[in-house]
């Protein structure tokens, strides 16, 4: 069990003051995918614990980064928060006006109404746009589904959105294949903005783009955040970009959050041995620095999330493991210094 189960994850959270109002509150969230066996009579023989008991808050107007290696559950977390996957257990609350509303208990029309407030930007701009729909139809589809706007107003609004994301409104009748990767990602962003959401989950929005295009899209996301007071959950594996764009960062490993801290604090003073190894593994575009770099090379691979190790789930690769890491139950997140949470028996 996580030690923070019922406490707010930040000192500000409970007070709800202006710069620290919780927009999304996630508590003990779990998402397990069943593994079944048998052809006619299927029975569950195990579970992939993609997200295993995580808790965090996202404050209004901030960007929370979610980083980790492939298979650590970061995308599943994003999708479960948006209720695109039904959680196995736990709570996800979204602030509506002055009240946190529980999303996991909502169904049907109630949930659909909440979806206007939370949208998603996908990783692959080639797969996330319907090739048979024109740009205008793609961007206005949310408007048609949620019926928030009269048809005759839609055209002008879509052109305004396209302009807002840096595309020529003249492109409205073109099809996705006529655009480059960066432009397609802008179309995806315009679609996510159509319903004027307050909260956007950006799932690796720049990983599929070329280096020279990434900065363009990141700058756009930052401009939009400032203008529209957006809150982002930014899922990524590029740790340099995460430091640039995020206010706070959560590091995931095997379905759990191992460390959560303000971005500068996390990069300058990582406490969890996994975060330390992860940060030291990132190459920096500076040959002099690279020559001096002391890398912490982790041995082995990430264990399977269907069969995570007993005790602390990092104990198969941890360079500083000791007896407690095998014997004691999983270390929960504790607040090591104000606002800096870490789950490690070595700390605290």
């Amino acid at each position: 069990m996580s030690a923070v189960a019922d406490q707010p994850l930040s000192r500000n959270a409970a007070e709800g003051d202006a710069d620290g109002r919780v927009l999304v509150r996630v508590r003990n969230l779990k998402k397990h995918f069943p593994i079944t066996s048998g052809i006619v009579i299927q029975r569950q023989v195990g579970a992939v614990k993609a997200v295993d008991d995580i808790s965090f808050d996202i404050f209004e107007g901030e960007t929370l980064g979610l980083v980790g290696e492939s298979g650590c559950g970061k995308s599943t977390t994003g999708r479960t928060v948006l209720q695109l996957y039904e959680p196995t257990a736990g709570s996800v609350q979204l602030r509506v006006d002055d009240e946190l509303q529980e999303l996991t208990e909502m169904k049907g029309e109630d949930l659909r109404r909440m979806r206007r407030r939370m949208q998603m930007i996908f990783q692959d701009p080639y797969a996330s746009l319907n090739p048979r729909m024109s740009v205008g139809r793609i961007v206005s589809e949310p408007l048609r589904i949620h019926k928030t706007m009269e048809r005759n107003e839609q055209e002008g609004y879509v052109e305004h959105l396209l302009e807002r994301v840096g595309l020529n409104p003249y492109f409205v009748n073109r099809y996705p294949h006529e655009f480059s990767g960066g432009q397609r990602q802008r179309i995806g962003i315009a679609r996510a903005l159509a319903l004027e959401p307050g909260f956007i989950v950006a799932d690796e929005p720049i990983s599929a783009l070329d280096v020279s295009i990434q900065a363009q899209v990141v700058n756009l996301l930052e401009d939009l955040q400032e203008e529209l007071n957006l809150t982002y959950l930014f899922i990524a594996h590029d740790l340099s970009m995460v430091r640039h764009i995020c206010d706070r960062v959560a590091v995931m490993y095997l379905g759990k959050i191992v460390e959560l801290a303000p971005a500068d604090e996390l990069y300058e003073n990582p406490l969890h041995p996994y975060t330390q190894a992860l940060l030291s593994a990132v190459p920096v575009p500076d040959p002099m620095r690279e020559k001096r770099a002391q890398r912490i090379i982790l041995t082995g691979d990430v264990p399977s999330p269907s069969n995570p190790p007993e005790g602390c789930n990092f104990n198969t690769r941890c360079p500083v493991r000791f007896g407690l890491c095998y014997d004691a139950p999983d270390p929960g997140l504790i607040e090591a210094t104000p606002g800096h949470y870490v789950a490690c028996h070595r700390v605290g």
Binding site: Q214, H237, D286, V302
Partner: protein, 339 residues
């Protein structure tokens, strides 16, 4: 150090239904023995096509190496008959690819795939080859190597598969290893393992490496010298320290400025506007002209040639009409992004 390979005026094109793709446009460079050369560029910059051209692996049709020579240890590889080229490939020049899953055969054991080259190029019998294969696997850090020879690729993780690819590449003691984005599909902690491994092995095997990557950070850590490619041309080349610290081409400079740094807090990123050119149009003038924040009239009509930079290291070359040191390029690119 002696020159191991010399690429002169290499031109590769693809003749497709949508028109001619000008993939590699007249590139020349030298590779020294034992040197690690980093080739950096974005997708479509011609960095992979150039390496496939060297190996004689361009699918034809539609591709064709139109011009140039690749002098490797005294022979022009482009003129070698196919049966002789086959003796070079795998034995003297080995290649590892980005995706270790698709470059290993899923229905053959790891052992049979490694021993294939040993038997073919080194004339080993089954026992010798198996023994050597086990040695190679433990060399690349795979525990319990002898028994894993009987495993299939799906029983290995991504990082392990890339280790197997490296073992296969090294099996015949090549003089040159071409690694095409070998760590792009891997996570950073696994990438660090592989880079660490390659650095160790290059000393042991005394081989030259061409390391192709889009990641300037990875190249900064592993290369002695780098080549920056854009639209099928070399825009800048030189010792890695020179190119990073004394950057002369506006494209290289733009790339470096657009990257956030993990070791410090960055302000707003300075992006390169626009997108790479359509490679179906022949280059007229400088390929970077449409996106360049410091372009002058001359850039649109005259293609700059790759030559030594003024007042720089003797190895440092670039292809640009403008001396960026005279300009405040940061201010210039900000100005460009506002328009």
């Amino acid at each position: 150090m002696a020159v191991l390979m010399e690429v002169n005026n290499l031109v590769t094109r693809f003749y497709t239904q949508e028109g001619t793709v000008y993939a590699v446009n007249d590139i020349s460079y030298q590779l020294q023995e034992g040197e690690t050369l980093g080739v950096v560029g974005e997708s479509g910059s011609g960095k992979s096509v150039h390496s496939l051209s060297i190996m004689g692996l361009i699918p034809s049709p539609p591709g064709k190496v139109e011009n140039g020579e690749v002098i490797f240890r005294g022979r022009d590889l482009l003129q070698l008959p196919p049966d002789q080229m086959r003796l070079v490939r795998g034995a003297e020049i080995a290649m590892i690819f980005q995706d270790p899953m698709t470059s290993l055969n899923p229905v053959l054991t790891i052992g049979s795939q490694i021993t294939e080259a040993l038997k073919l190029h080194m004339g080993m019998n089954n026992n010798q080859a198996n023994e050597r294969a086990a040695e190679l696997l433990s060399l690349v850090g795979i525990p319990d190597a002898a028994s894993r020879l009987n495993n299939y690729p799906h029983q290995f993780s991504g990082g392990m598969r890339q280790r197997v690819m490296i073992a296969m590449g090294l099996s015949c003691n090549p003089k040159l290893l071409i690694a095409d984005e070998p760590t792009t599909a891997l996570d950073v902690t696994i990438q660090a393992q592989i880079i660490d491994l390659v650095k160790r092995l290059r000393e042991e095997f005394d081989m030259a490496i061409i390391w192709i990557s889009h990641d300037l950070g990875v190249v900064a850590g592993i290369a002695d010298r780098i080549i920056v490619m854009y639209a099928g041309t070399i825009v800048e080349s030189g010792m890695v320290e020179e190119v990073f610290a004394d950057t002369r081409h506006p494209y290289t400079l733009g790339l470096l400025q657009s990257l956030p740094r993990m070791d410090r807090r960055s302000q707003r990123l300075i992006s390169i506007e626009g997108s790479p050119p359509d490679m179906r149009n022949p280059i007229d003038g400088c390929p970077f002209v449409d996106r360049c924040p410091v372009r002058i009239d001359r850039c649109a009509t005259e293609t700059p040639v790759l030559e030594g930079v003024p007042e720089g290291h003797q190895d440092h070359m670039m292809a640009c009409w403008v001396d960026v040191r005279e300009l405040d390029i940061v201010a210039a690119s900000e100005g460009a992004s506002e328009t």
